[in-house]
C-alpha cells in the first residue's frame, strides 16, 4: 500500500487511506552485560488509517452534551485576547489578505471543506488562523526556537463552535504547552475538543528546540504526551467524546479515545 492510496467501498463515498511507513531498529545483544555490543538491524513496516479528506470524516462518537449553559460572550472575548500583544488593533488588510487577528495580515487561506463540522466552522477557522499566527511558524525560515505551540479548548456555543484560547498561565515553548496546576478549573463546561499547534513542517529536524528526544525528521500527528493530555481530560470530565486536534505546517490531525486508530488527517485549511 502506498501513501494516500484510495480504497473504494461500494456502499459509501470513497475513503482515503493514509499509510505511514515505520522504520524499526532492532538490536541483537549477544552479551546482555555489554549493551554497547548490540548489533542493529532495521525492519520497515506500514500502518494505514482512514482519512477524512474526501469529506467522509467529521463528528466524534455520540452527540455533544447540551446540558451546559453558554459561556457569556464577554468571557470568550477576554480569552480570545490572550494571544493579542497589548495595544494591537485588527489590521485593515489589502485584497487577498486577511487579518491574522494578532495585528498582522496574511494571505487568505483556503477555506475548510472537510466534512468535519468543527473544522468547517468559519469561527473555528478564524481561531486556527489566530493559533497559527501566534505560533510564529508562517514559514520554515523562522528559527525553530522562536516558534511556539499555541492552543485552546474547542467549545460548542450557540449552535456553533469557538475556541477558548489557553490563558497565559499555560506555559508555551516550541515543543509543548504546560498547563498550571489549576488547569482543571479552567476547562469550559461545554468543551467538545482541544486543539494545539505543532509549529513545524514535515521533515524538519526538531532536535534543536525539542532537546534530545526531538525528531530528526518531524513526521506530524499527535504524540504520546498529546494522547495522555486527551486521556486525562476525558477521564476528568467523564466525557469520552472529546476530540484532540493538532495543526502543523501542512496538515490538520484529529484524534480521539482510540488513539492512532482514530486519527483523521486533513489537508491544511482555514489558516
Amino acid at each position: 500500500m502506498r501513501d494516500g492510496e484510495a480504497v473504494t467501498n461500494s456502499n459509501e463515498r470513497s475513503t482515503n487511506l493514509t499509510c505511514i511507513t515505520y522504520t524499526m531498529t532492532s538490536y541483537i545483544c549477544p552479551d546482555p552485560s555489554r549493551p554497547s555490543y548490540c548489533v542493529p538491524t532495521t525492519i520497515t513496516f506500514t500502518d494505514c488509517f482512514s482519512t477524512g479528506s474526501t469529506g467522509s470524516g467529521g463528528g466524534f462518537g455520540g452527540p455533544a452534551d447540551h446540558n451546559w449553559q453558554p459561556l457569556p460572550k464577554r468571557a470568550i472575548i477576554e480569552v480570545d485576547n490572550a494571544l493579542d500583544p497589548p495595544g494591537t488593533l485588527p489590521s485593515v488588510c489589502e485584497p487577498g489578505m486577511v487579518s491574522d487577528r494578532n495585528g498582522g495580515c496574511v494571505p487568505k487561506p483556503d477555506p475548510c471543506d472537510t466534512g468535519n463540522n468543527i473544522l468547517d466552522s468559519e469561527e473555528i477557522q478564524s481561531d486556527l488562523l489566530k493559533i497559527w499566527s501566534g505560533s510564529n511558524a508562517s514559514s520554515g525560515d523562522i528559527p525553530m526556537d522562536e516558534r511556539l505551540e499555541q492552543g485552546g479548548w474547542i467549545i460548542e456555543i450557540n449552535g456553533g463552535y469557538d475556541v477558548v484560547f489557553f490563558p497565559p498561565t499555560f506555559l508555551r515553548d516550541p515543543c509543548g504547552i504546560s498547563p498550571p496546576s489549576n488547569w482543571k478549573d479552567l476547562i469550559p463546561d461545554n468543551i467538545v475538543g482541544y486543539v494545539h499547534s505543532h509549529p513545524f513542517y514535515i521533515g524538519e529536524n526538531t532536535l534543536g528546540p525539542c532537546g534530545a528526544e526531538g525528531e530528526t525528521s518531524y513526521e506530524g500527528g499527535p504524540s504520546d504526551p498529546d494522547y495522555i493530555f486527551l486521556m486525562d481530560l476525558m477521564n476528568f470530565l467523564g466525557n469520552f467524546n472529546i476530540a484532540g486536534y493538532v495543526i502543523d505546517g501542512g496538515k490538520i490531525y484529529s484524534y480521539d479515545f482510540r488513539y492512532s486508530a482514530g486519527i483523521k488527517e486533513y489537508n491544511r485549511c482555514g489558516y
Binding site: 505511514i20 504526551p225 481530560l233 488513539y259
Partner: protein
Amino acid sequence: MWILNNNIMRIRKYILVAGLFIFTIYSSFAQSIDLKNNECPAKSRLAKLGVEIFIQLAGSKDFREQIGASGETVEQVQAVENGQTCSALNDFISNNRKFNNINQSYKDTDKQVYFYKTDNFYYVFWGRKPEFDDRPATGPKTLFIVIKNDLSQFWEYYF
C-alpha cells in the same frame, strides 16, 4: 642509623594510615555508587498511562507483533521496583552512548527516566517528574525503549 630507621618506620606508618583512609573513603564512595545504581526511578501516574497507551496503540500493533509483544496487556503494566533489575536497567542506559546522553541531558530538568514492565518486557523512557502528575502537558513524540526481560534484545519506538 637508628634515627633513620625510626623515621622510615614513621613514614611507613603514615603511608599505611593514609592508604587505609583512602581505601575507606573509596569503598564507601563505591558503595554509594552501587546503592545509587540499585535505585529505582520514582513512579508516575502519567508515565504509567503512557505505557498503557503504547500497549493499546493501533499504530504500534505491527511493531508489537514484530517484537513478540502482542500478548502484553494493560493489566500487566507496573513500575519496576526490584533493585537488581533497576541496577541492570541503569547499566543498560549508561552503557549506551545515545541513551546515556539523553539521560544526562535531563539532569536538573523537570524530566526523569522511567522503568516500567509487563510480563515479558521492560519499558524505558523519559517523561515529566511525578510532581507534574496533576497536569498533563502536550509535547513532542518521544523515544520509548522496549527491552526483552532477559535484556537480550531491545527496540526503539517513537510516539
